[in-house]
């Protein structure tokens, strides 16, 4: 509303004082020349304004002087250097948000100048389909977030399928109030990231909120995992892809180190280490977003549900089958005494055999070797 009032005031002003300002067609007298340029710090900067592009732009109905305010009282030639355009004259909300957020970019860095289109237009630099290349024009110089995003499922969906169903930079980071993740108000701050992801993934968010992880987040947010604790924020992997399956143990082990160690001591873990994505990793048995502690009747690893859980892969799993201990650690005498003593017995057997035959073989070798060196053929 405020913007409309301002625009109306400008239009009135312009209409009321035609003699004072340069008209847009005056401007085109010079600026439609596509060789018109100036030199800034050794760089040639074009001063050409394509009339057609401008007319089709969202500001196409406005006159040059509406934005270039220092043309208001110019009658003939303006000074060589014009002041920077203040977009905040109309778009004060957006400018205030940018200033509060602290994003270093100027309006024109993202939106362009004379070619600004509405954000809904697929050709707009800030349309979801293009936003990422706009952001990445600067950000690929600072960090790897852009290249990670392109690799991830969000990036691939947006780039390859060109469908705006996936998350571009602005969907998570916002448009004008962009802030660092370490700031309270940031949409990607630890305590807000779940809601941000939940905008597009509401079912997942709901499941997570009723899980042990969601509970922990409500209780003591600092230690609980949020979306980005398990899903790399930019390189969002599709969870069914091999790359995610093979690294899920590593992700969970950031908090559950002991469990990932004992997992590796057993068949599933060993196969995972050697690149078998099909075998069960953490989430096949514990669930992903729905993880609940083993004593919860809804938990996948609750004794009542184990037959079904193991049965996902092992058709025919029964009450005997589920007595297998997938996290057994035979070094742990307190929790697995039977396995520990079996292991000790096997090691004892190993050492006994090698102790006896080791000495036996060594003595034999020395005896025969000596006999051979002395050349007494019949003594061996």
């Amino acid at each position: 509303m405020r913007r409309i009032v301002r625009i109306s005031v400008f239009l009135l002003l312009i209409a009321a004082s035609p003699a004072l300002a340069l008209t847009t067609s005056d401007c085109y007298d010079c600026h439609s020349d596509d060789t018109l340029a100036k030199t800034v710090r050794g760089q040639e900067v074009s001063l050409f304004v394509d009339e057609e592009v401008y007319t089709n732009s969202v500001h196409g109905d406005m006159d040059c002087a509406d934005c270039h305010e220092d043309l208001w009282d110019v009658e003939d030639m303006h000074e060589e250097e014009l002041q920077a355009v203040d977009c905040g004259n109309c778009h004060d909300d957006a400018v205030e948000e940018v200033e509060a957020g602290g994003h270093m970019a100027e309006c024109i860095d993202c939106h362009g100048k004379h070619d600004i289109l509405s954000g809904d237009d697929p050709d707009s630099a800030v349309n979801d389909l293009k936003a990422s290349s706009t952001c990445c024009a600067c950000h690929s110089e600072y960090d790897s977030s852009c290249s990670y995003w392109e690799e991830g499922v969000h990036g691939r969906l947006l780039i390859e399928d060109a469908e705006d169903l996936s998350a571009a930079c602005n969907d998570c980071h916002g448009s004008h109030d962009i802030r660092g993740a370490d700031e309270e108000e940031s949409t990607v701050a630890r305590h807000r990231i779940n809601e941000t992801c939940g905008v597009c993934h509401p079912d997942v968010l709901e499941t997570y909120q009723s899980s042990i992880h969601g509970d922990a987040f409500e209780g003591n947010g600092d230690e609980a995992p949020v979306c980005t604790s398990c899903h790399s924020p930019h390189r969002t992997e599709a969870a069914l892809e091999e790359q995610f399956q093979l690294t899920v143990v590593e992700r969970c082990s950031a908090c559950h180190e002991e469990m990932s160690y004992s997992f590796s001591k057993n068949f599933h873990g060993q196969r995972t280490w050697l690149g078998d994505a099909k075998v069960a990793q953490c989430i096949e048995c514990h669930g992903a977003h729905e993880i609940l502690p083993g004593d919860d009747p809804d938990s996948m690893i609750h004794p009542d549900n184990l037959v079904a859980t193991c049965g996902q892969c092992h058709s025919g799993a029964n009450v005997n089958f589920i007595q297998y201990m997938p996290h057994a650690d035979y070094h742990d005498a307190d929790h697995y005494p039977m396995l520990y003593y079996l292991y000790v017995a096997m090691v004892f057997l190993l050492f006994s055999v090698f102790f006896f035959f080791g000495i036996h073989t060594l003595l034999w070798f020395l005896r025969t070797f000596k006999a051979y060196r002395n050349g007494s053929g019949e003594d061996h």
């Binding site: 050697l274 025919g316 005997n320 096997m346 080791g358 036996h360 073989t361 003595l363 034999w364 050349g375």
Partner: protein, 288 residues
Amino acid sequence: MTQDSQPNKEEQVGRWYLRFNWYHRFIHVLIMFSFLGLVITGMPLKFYSEGWAQVLTRAMGGIEAAGFWHRVCGAVTFLYFFLHLVYALYYIIRIRREPILKWAFGPDSMLPSIKDVEDVTGHILWFMGLGERPKFDHFTYWEKFDYLAVFWGVGIIGLSGLTLWFPEFFSLFLPGWVFNVSIILHSDEAILASGFIFTIHFFNTHLRPEKFPLDHVVFTGKMSEEEFRHERPLEYERMVREGRLEAFETSPPSRAALLWSNIVGILTYAIGLSVLFLIFYSLIAQLH
């Protein structure tokens, strides 16, 4: 042969005697190939976190392929085990010439006897220069140990391997913690078996100075008279006494047979000793 000269085991002149028939040799080759296959496809799983385990798994075409060949070799193991039992039964029923108990504790049986205990002691005393070298018969005590160890090994590794191959079936009548037991038995027994074969068996049977670089007898089936008299004097004397020696006389091994034995033997050393090195390297690395 002079006082100083060594008995030349590769000498292809003189008399030669048949020690192993084609069935024995065939079973030994089956054991060799399936055992090497099992070790190569199985060890990466035991040492999953080592770089070489991951490289080897990739080289085999991934964990699925390695698992497939491991099971194929496991099936061959059960096959030779079965074939041997059939042979042993056939031997006991049809070939055995003595009453069963006399045979069982006599020199032609694989079962341990009092003489084996005496031979172990005598042999060790001889190692230390404290006595005469014992006179051996058809099977020495270390050969019997190798033989019986395969029964133990195939029993432990084979059964535990089967439970891990078909867990759903075995859980019909066994509790699931049996699979935890199987994992320990299977992997630790595998270390014992491969460690034993690649050091003790290699040395005792092939690499000791008299046999170096390889005892061909298990491939060609033939041993020279000189070797026979030296290695197994009791058997030799007994056969002479009983007049049965001529029946075992055979032609000298062909050059082709010796060449083939050498190629297979050296490849087996190369694989076995490489795996042995990797096992040692990894076990020591894991201590730190």
